[in-house]
Subunit: 247 residues, 2 copies
Amino acid sequence: MRNVKLIVSYDGGDFNGWQTQPGFRTVQETLESAISKLTGEPKTRVNVSGRTDAGVHAVGQVVNFYTASDHPPEVILRAVNANLPPDVIVRDAAEMPQSFDANRDAKRKLYRYVIHDGPVSDVFLRRYAYHVRNRLDVAAMKRAAVPLLGRHDFHSFETNWPNRMSSVRTITHLALNRLGDWLWLDVEADGFLYNMVRAVAGTLVNVGRGYWPESHVAEILQAEDRKEAGPTAPAQGLFLMRVSYDR
Amino acid sequence: MRNVKLIVSYDGGDFNGWQTQPGFRTVQETLESAISKLTGEPKTRVNVSGRTDAGVHAVGQVVNFYTASDHPPEVILRAVNANLPPDVIVRDAAEMPQSFDANRDAKRKLYRYVIHDGPVSDVFLRRYAYHVRNRLDVAAMKRAAVPLLGRHDFHSFETNWPNRMSSVRTITHLALNRLGDWLWLDVEADGFLYNMVRAVAGTLVNVGRGYWPESHVAEILQAEDRKEAGPTAPAQGLFLMRVSYDR
């Protein structure tokens, strides 16, 4: 069996998230069907770097799957894309060593959260951003975000759920930029808790609106209590940009 | 009666064009309903700078309408937007002299046609661009477009339809730009024939693909025969950007 890695981009707006669920349109099921149609193998199962929730987008999601078919990667790329609907696309395909595991081997992930604070919503990008009516103070948000960098217990930014053993993660990169009425928050970490980026975005928006002082973010982090942080910002602003591996 | 001008932006993807047609979702009917809901006047009729076809988008469409209501323009802007679905938005509202007519007084319109020639389609912008699989030769397209500038009979670029008396129009500005895998063709003229920008785009794409020599565009113009030009490029790449008035 060959081990094939795919880099996949999808518009999450019309999907009920990544993971297959009977009766719902999911990215996993859509992708697996398109691969099976090419290989003729009925039970193709893709292994993903990490699930994304309903409405969340991906620019560079990574999966791997095993196949007995001998199509070269460039043929897989073209043929799977021909079988996919317009809101999912395979951007790259490569053959990997047998041991490669898109989930276990992922070293870092980069998420981007997009906010629009123009006076009226943007009809073209409304499905890809969180529209906030108040003009946000980006300088205050940037300063407020500094304590989040590094290794911390992010339990305050984790939706209650069957959670992982530990909520300690390391944010290796955190940047907020503005261009006109558009803000994007980039967060790279060695792993993410459930709804973590959306809780960080909702918290920083509360600072940007002037509801909370900048210093409040450090207090939220120390509280280790989800009730202290801001709301979970809407799914449509969130993009999984990139998953990094050692090789 | 007060004469109110609106600048309107819409995502044409889910509309059956501008003009009201029973049984179809149209921008005109959607906007008129939203205004009527505010003013309480049941028969509000908006007068548009020019209709757009099914699937065509607008960044800066212009309309005017008469109303007896005394809401100031900023209230009209907010209240009409509150009554509109997410794919139409009023960007600006202003009170105008009685004589202002969004259609008759329009001096120039600027349309933009967006083309994506990346190897795979873009899942986020697929509804806002024409995806061409061949890499286009933009330098050749630019040179080929030069003869279109100025005053000409554009009958070769006009879909047969109950047409205007004359197919002579003046293109005052024509520019083609590339940024990465994205091209945009800007065409400003004193008026446009039916499907004119889409026929120009389809023609230039044939040059960019290498199907036609650059010199062929001048020949098409001289032929005054629609069959000589390239195909009508898809509606989803076309945006009405701006309508200019003397005052």
